[in-house]
């Protein structure tokens, strides 16, 4: 072992054998430029090939490597071990999702919520593939921030409302609904709005704001939710109503 090491405490869970998830510690060599995902890969290669976790891009793009690092949802490939010195670093599966094995979670609830908001451009006429649909930089700026989402689900793990009301459609889905609503090329009208203002929609949110704090891509789902609350009640309650 090199002179410097760090300990990773990784959640292990095999539903066939373990009644409850448990933590297992691994001591690994530490280098300054290592991220949590590097640590897990080192464990898998050198210490224990049975550890399960998801990853793909290693660069904060694919959104597969979400995990709780010392209690906070992080991308494993973007969380540097040096920020958690001297350790141990506690690595757990993302909360608010069922654990399938070790750090691997069942994301089907998120997939249902995501598709419910139809996260694509809807056109009444002239499908988006049929030509050019021009947009000014200012128009792009209206939704650009919300379009950065990589579906990593960290925001769902940070959200206490999801824990209490699992059906809550949640931060990323609403941010993406907003992203398409604000797109000048989209013609879905209030279709998505009807979905996200339903029961289990935006009204479940109490603006804890942690979704925006943990988002690795600078998306601000909390803002998308409150904006939607505001816009969708304006017409009813304020004299200068409408959108």
């Amino acid at each position: 072992m090199p002179d410097k090491t760090i300990t990773l405490s990784v959640t292990r869970f095999d539903p066939d054998l373990d009644p409850e998830p448990r933590q297992q510690s691994y001591e690994i060599p530490f280098k300054d430029d290592m991220v949590v995902l590097d640590g897990l890969n080192w464990i898998k290669t050198h210490l224990d090939g049975s550890v399960n976790y998801r990853w793909s891009c290693r660069m904060g793009i694919c959104g597969s490597c979400g995990m709780n690092v010392n209690g906070t949802p992080k991308l494993g490939c973007s969380a540097f071990l040096r920020d958690y010195l001297p350790g141990p670093v506690v690595v757990e599966p993302l909360p608010n999702f069922p654990v399938v094995r070790d750090l691997v979670i069942d994301m089907s609830s998120f997939m249902e919520k995501l598709s419910a908001v139809k996260p694509w451009i809807i056109r009444e006429q002239g499908a988006i593939g049929t030509g050019e649909f021009l947009q000014t930089p200012a128009q792009t700026e209206q939704y650009r921030q919300f379009s950065m989402c990589i579906n990593c689900m960290l925001c769902y793990s940070a959200c206490p409302v999801i824990a209490i009301e699992p059906e809550f459609i949640g931060p990323a889905a609403i941010a993406l609904a907003r992203r398409y609503e604000l797109d000048s090329r989209d013609q879905a009208g209030d279709e998505r709005l009807r979905t996200i203002t339903a029961s289990d929609g935006i009204w479940d949110c109490s603006f804890v704001g942690e979704c925006s704090a943990v988002c690795p891509k600078g998306v601000d789902p909390a803002r998308a939710i409150q904006q939607t609350k505001f816009d969708s009640t304006l017409g009813v309650l304020l004299p200068w109503g409408g959108k």
Partner: protein, 149 residues
């Protein structure tokens, strides 16, 4: 890089390995525990922000009590004057100001006022809200003082 050989399971392989062609074993629900709000300072500040509603409402109940006393006519009227009430009010005032600060700042950030193709910058809305708080405080406070002369 250390151990960066292609041995970690990618997404498909990992989820395949977990169910492996047999009946899926029950997964562990792993919800955030109900003491989530003690997990980090941001959560604690959220709780503090929501809690401001409690001292504000209690202070307003005391105001109602005072109005109730005034129904008995001048003879029985006793305004709140005790030191305990002042201390209680100072505590409530701190929470009330915290509510004003957090709510006006956050509502300024979320309100979206279209301005042609763009929107009015959030910083301008927040600054406007705080300006309004100062004006309202001067006007309401002034009227409460003038009404007592």
């Amino acid at each position: 890089m250390l151990g960066r050989r292609e041995t970690g399971l990618g997404e498909d392989a990992a989820s395949g390995a977990s169910t492996g062609g047999r009946e899926a074993a029950p997964a562990h629900p792993n919800r955030l525990p109900t003491d989530w709000w003690r997990r980090n300072p941001r959560y604690v500040l959220y709780m503090l922000r929501e809690f401001t509603a409690v001292p504000i409402a209690i202070w307003m109940v005391w105001f109602l009590v005072e109005i109730g006393r005034a129904r008995g006519g001048s003879a029985g009227y006793r305004p709140h004057q005790s030191l305990a009430f002042v201390i209680f009010s100072v505590v409530c005032l701190v929470f009330a100001v915290w509510h004003s600060f957090t709510f006006l700042r956050l509502s300024g950030l979320i309100v979206r006022i279209p301005l042609g193709e763009r929107t009015v910058p959030a910083s301008a809305i927040v600054a406007g809200s705080f300006g309004l708080l100062i004006v309202a405080t001067v006007v309401v406070g002034g009227l409460l003082i003038l009404g007592g002369r």
